[in-house]
């Protein structure tokens, strides 16, 4: 830690928004997953874009790393400052700047949380909603799109990053760049079209090419009612057929699948949660019937059926975001939880399940599988999840080894890592097309010549 840098940061953001206290650095150096911790030297909480520009310029001048931070919930170490430096905690930049109700988009600052936007829309725009991910409400909207997150509307509209409608980005040089229609118009309705789409220079890069200080995301109709049916099957080979039929109805909001051995009620089955919405009872019941009829052939063959979701169970399933993940995370006590959630074809579901069970047995770990269907079943996110007690070193190590095997498996089945760990990023780079790699390197080297932006992520040099 250099006093001169600390003083410069205080000059930029104010004394109470800069910390070098060990106790605070400790928390900024880790997440609840399996990644090894590494503390930053400084933490700063800027209030606006100008302060971020100054911090980036300072870091460039001093040659020290910068790690932009949302809520630090990636679980895969994406915001762990492996080379120390400055963590830029975005949480003070949480203003909701504009809602265009008729054009259905909202502009927010880069540190705005999912929970804040959810509450704001519920209060002021009850007919609008955004694609809420199943992360804690403190997760930020910007960080979620930077990792190509998914949410409650991903089945209908794609990855949450597909729903971006414009960005303001501070480049590694400290300059500001506007992305999308907002670059030429006062309206933030598109991240690219009809212009050249440069949003890909930032989305999926984990903050290694710039810091999003403002962004617009698309909003969608929020119906008055929401319900679900859960289709259960013990024949994993049928999952992709079932999903194909359900998505063909075009009646469905969200589709998730879960499978876990405990409690016994869930053992040996995969549970396809099919969510649908309506403004009236009639609309809701019409959709329910269409969904039932679409799966009738599986019921008649006795291969699957709709389970009874009692009214008392429904609030748990209809919760947004889902809290059940947090409950699973602590099943072994000690609050350790990590999952690898590759994006792959829905037809790979049975292979993924087999691998998950095999690893659970091999490493004696509690497992849970959760999948989310993306964009009318073009692909899915399949989460290989293990819970562990962080105080139990042996269990942590077993979980680490199991995750390493998952990573190899994902490549074998043609999957692509989602929010990959550093090791998974290296695996991706090893397997990526050489022309693609060359282009990625050109982009990274050009945008961040001093390699100060969230280093150790997407290490392409």
């Amino acid at each position: 830690m250099k006093e001169s840098i600390k003083s410069a940061l205080i000059e930029i953001a104010g004394e109470e928004y800069v910390s070098t206290f060990e106790e605070e650095l400790y928390f900024y150096g880790r997440d609840p997953g399996l990644s090894f911790p590494s503390n930053p030297h400084y933490v700063v909480l800027p209030e606006n874009t100008e302060e971020i520009q100054q911090i980036v310029r300072l870091a460039n001048k001093e040659g020290i790393p910068i790690v932009p931070l949302g809520a630090g919930l990636s679980l895969t170490g994406l915001a762990i400052p492996r080379r120390g430096g400055i963590v830029i905690d975005m949480k003070r930049m949480d203003r909701i700047l504009e809602v265009n109700e008729k054009a259905r988009f909202v502009i927010v600052e880069g540190g705005t949380s999912q929970g804040k936007l959810q509450a704001y829309l519920e209060k002021h725009y009850p007919r609008l909603r955004h694609s809420i991910p199943d992360a804690p409400p403190t997760a930020t909207i910007a960080a979620n799109v930077v990792i190509h997150g998914q949410g409650r509307l991903s089945q209908q509209y794609g990855f949450n990053s597909d729903l971006v409608a414009g960005m303001e980005v501070v480049l590694p040089s400290g300059e500001i760049c506007k992305v999308g229609s907002c670059a030429v118009s006062p309206y933030w309705f598109s991240k690219g079209p009809p212009l050249p789409d440069i949003s890909g220079l930032f989305l999926g890069w984990f903050g290694t090419t710039g810091i999003i200080t403002k962004l617009a995301i698309k909003l969608y109709p929020r119906k008055k009612m929401r319900d679900l049916e859960i289709f259960v099957t013990d024949n994993e080979n049928l999952i992709s057929d079932i999903i194909y039929e359900v998505t063909h109805t075009e009646m469905v909001e969200d589709i998730t699948i879960f499978a876990q051995p405990w409690p016994l009620f869930f053992k040996d089955n995969s549970h396809i949660c099919i969510y649908f919405t309506g403004d009236t009872e009639e609309e809701l019941e019409f959709k329910r019937r269409v969904i039932w009829k679409a799966l009738e052939k599986f019921i008649e063959s006795k291969e699957g059926g709709f389970m009874w979701v009692q009214p008392s169970m429904k609030p748990t399933f209809l919760d947004m975001p889902q809290r059940s993940v947090a409950r699973f995370a602590d099943v072994k006590r000690g609050g350790g939880f990590e999952y690898s959630g590759p994006i792959l074809l829905v037809e790979k579901y049975p292979e993924c399940m087999r691998k998950l069970r095999e690893l659970s047995t091999k490493y004696n770990l509690a497992y849970s599988a959760m999948a989310r269907i993306i964009d009318t079943a073009h692909c899915m996110m399949f989460a290989f999840a293990f819970a562990f007690n962080r105080a139990d070193e042996d269990m942590v190590e077993r979980a680490r080894r199991a995750m390493a095997e998952v990573s190899k498996f994902i490549i074998e089945v043609g999957g692509v890592f989602w929010k990959p760990t550093v090791e998974e990023q290296k695996l991706t780079i090893e397997h990526i097309d050489s022309g693609t790699l060359k282009l990625l390197k050109m982009i990274k080297n050009h945008l961040d010549p001093n390699n100060i932006m969230n280093p150790s992520n997407w290490e392409l040099r």
Partner: protein, 338 residues
């Protein structure tokens, strides 16, 4: 647990053919139904094995006590005729598997059995149960498993019910007040039909409630309300107990309104039918039940079975009828908040 005591001769000499003639679902008139029942008894295939929706009603319709429904259930399983999708069957069989998470209160020789119905942990309190609580048992270890008749799996009942009986015995329980008809039916109808002795005295909770209401009659504030009553399938295993509901209503100043689907003509709540994957039939049953209740002019619909309550309750609320379990209704009459 042994073989089902089914007497083919009783069917041969039957002149009413009520079991399937009265059935709302199988729809076999007169001697045709009798013929099908005899085919089933002889181990032959029958359309009934595929069309029965497990409403239990034929157990009540057969006045000779010949257990037509138990027979249908046994033969279905013998012939490998699945009535619910395999994953749903697995789910429910797993649900009833004892896992050591049962609860027992301060046990005495007389105890309440909540079976495996968590709602009773909330509902069973107050003056009505003062003389027996906190003597209760709850959990899979005390679950009668009769629900598996709905799934055509008598074998599960045969395997688990003796263990359940044993669990009661080990605790020194001599009298069991059953809060669900299925438990009472298990001990008074199904167990004898399969030749198994019950090592305690089963008491239906309607008998218990009536006795308690008599003891507490000074504290009863007549409710002066009109109620409809939704009879569950499981009460077909002990018809005389069903009729005690009327006495309970009288003793708390409640008027039981007439409805089409009353007493012997009761209509299934539909939820089991939904589990079988028969969406349209389930919808029809629920619609008919709800329309009938609404038409009756009742302010409340009283439930005996918590699962019928869960199936129809929220739909009735939307139609302006308040759902309530009979225990809550009685507690209301005793001036307690429910």
């Amino acid at each position: 647990m042994g073989e089902l005591r089914f007497n083919e001769n009783l069917c041969l000499n039957c002149t009413t053919f009520d079991c399937l003639k009265k059935c709302k679902f199988v729809k076999l008139n007169g001697a045709k139904g009798n013929l099908e029942m005899l085919k089933i008894a002889r181990g032959e295939d029958s359309t009934v094995l595929r069309t029965c929706i497990t409403c239990y009603a034929c157990e009540e319709y057969c006045e000779k006590g010949n257990h037509p429904f138990y027979l249908i259930s046994e033969k279905r399983e013998e012939k490998g005729i699945d009535i619910v999708p395999r994953p749903i069957l697995k789910q429910w069989i797993n649900l009833g598997e004892p896992v050591g998470r049962y609860k027992v209160g301060e046990l005495r020789e007389k105890t309440l059995s909540f079976g495996f119905v968590p709602e009773f942990l909330q509902w069973v309190k107050g003056k009505l149960f003062e003389d027996v609580m906190p003597s209760y048992v709850f959990g899979q270890e005390f679950f009668c498993n009769v629900a598996y008749l709905h799934f055509g799996r008598t074998s599960v009942i045969k395997q688990r019910l003796p263990i359940v009986m044993d669990n009661f015995s080990k605790l020194g329980i001599k009298e069991v007040i059953c809060l669900h008809d299925e438990c009472y039916g298990a001990f008074t109808s199904l167990a004898p039909a399969f030749g198994i002795e019950v090592p305690f005295k089963p008491i239906h909770y309607y008998e218990y409630i009536l006795k308690r209401l008599e003891q507490l009659k000074d504290k009863i504030r007549p409710l002066n309300i009109k109620v409809a009553y939704q009879r569950p399938c499981s009460s077909r295993l002990s018809p005389p107990m069903h009729y005690l509901a009327r006495e309970i209503f009288t003793s708390i100043g409640v008027e039981l309104v007439d409805r089409v689907y009353q007493d012997e003509n009761a209509l299934c709540c539909g939820e089991v039918v939904r589990l079988q994957g028969l969406y349209d039939l389930a919808e029809e049953l629920q619609r008919e039940n709800i329309e009938d209740i609404v038409k009756s002019g009742a302010e409340y619909c009283v439930f005996n079975c918590p699962y019928c309550y869960a199936a129809l309750g929220h739909k009735l609320i939307k139609k302006g009828v308040k759902p309530i379990h009979i225990i809550e209704l009685c507690r209301m009459a005793l001036g307690e908040e429910v």
